[in-house]
């Protein structure tokens, strides 16, 4: 692990804290997109480039767009409601940074001896062979889940329209 990885991890945890603690939903959705982008950079650096591309295109691209679409369909809060909401939020979320610092410091000081069985590149099948041949059952499952999701959305919106 070099300094760039550590920097990316630090940026990621700061963005996670920002996403959780921000008062605006739009800012939270954008923070989530930044977390995904940083995660994809990390994944690229630790040797998972294909998964990193998926993460960047789907999780940093598609999911925030879906969230922002939903947020744009909702009614914004009034000024006094917004003020009250942000005060409530500060009351509820102030222990989180403290908790994060405490857990982080505790885990940093406690360094267990972990026996790693292997630390080298295994020259096995590549990703293409793994996805399309060895773990073909996963593909069937993924197609089934995608279809289930599509039907669920169709039924949900049909019900909403009928109401």
């Amino acid at each position: 692990m070099n300094n760039i990885d550590l920097f990316l991890l630090l940026v990621m945890i700061i963005m996670v804290l920002g996403t959780v603690m921000t008062s605006g939903l739009l800012r939270a959705a954008l923070g989530l997109a930044v977390v995904s982008a940083v995660l994809s950079a990390l994944m690229y650096r630790i040797g998972s480039p294909i998964a990193a591309v998926y993460e960047l295109s789907v999780c940093a691209g598609l999911i925030p767009v879906i969230f922002i679409t939903v947020i744009s369909l909702t009614k914004p809060l009034k000024k006094d409601e917004e003020k009250q909401e942000s005060i409530d939020k500060i009351h509820r979320f102030w222990p989180l940074p403290v908790l994060i610092v405490l857990i982080g410091a505790g885990m940093f000081l406690y360094k267990p001896v972990i026996e790693l069985k292997q630390f080298m590149t295994v020259y096995g099948p590549d990703v293409k062979e793994m996805v399309w041949s060895i773990r073909q059952t996963d593909l069937i499952g993924q197609i089934a889940i995608l279809l289930a999701g599509a039907f669920a959305i169709l039924i949900l919106f049909k019900e909403m329209r009928s109401k």
């Binding site: 959780v20 969230f67 982080g104 289930a148």
Partner: protein, 104 residues
């Protein structure tokens, strides 16, 4: 020794992200924020998988698993967003406490 250090550093950050996501899910009253907390926890699991692949050397297997996780994540989030939108049109609010009260 170095690989242990790498693993433990990633473990610390993965734990911190999971704690943040869990805190968000427990403490928030907003349904969209709740989904963002869930999403953060999934991100931590994705990072943990990638690190496991990096350390064990099974990069191809781990990448295929991460792709599966991402596909399931997208479908779950899309359906959840549909449900949240339905709740909003029904109650006029994204407050989770309102739904809890209406169920009692």
């Amino acid at each position: 020794m170095i690989d242990q250090q790498i693993m433990w550093t990633y473990m610390i950050f993965v734990t911190l992200i999971i704690v943040s996501g869990l805190y968000c899910v427990i403490m928030t009253h907003n349904l969209m924020k709740l989904m963002i907390g869930l999403e953060l926890m999934i991100k931590a699991v994705t990072l943990l998988l990638a690190v496991a692949g990096y350390l064990s050397g099974h990069i191809a297997l781990v990448q295929s698993l991460i792709i599966t996780v991402i596909v399931i994540e997208v479908v779950v989030m899309t359906v959840a967003v549909g449900v949240v939108l339905g709740i909003y049109f029904y109650t006029g609010s994204l407050d989770a406490m309102l739904i809890r009260r209406s169920k009692e």
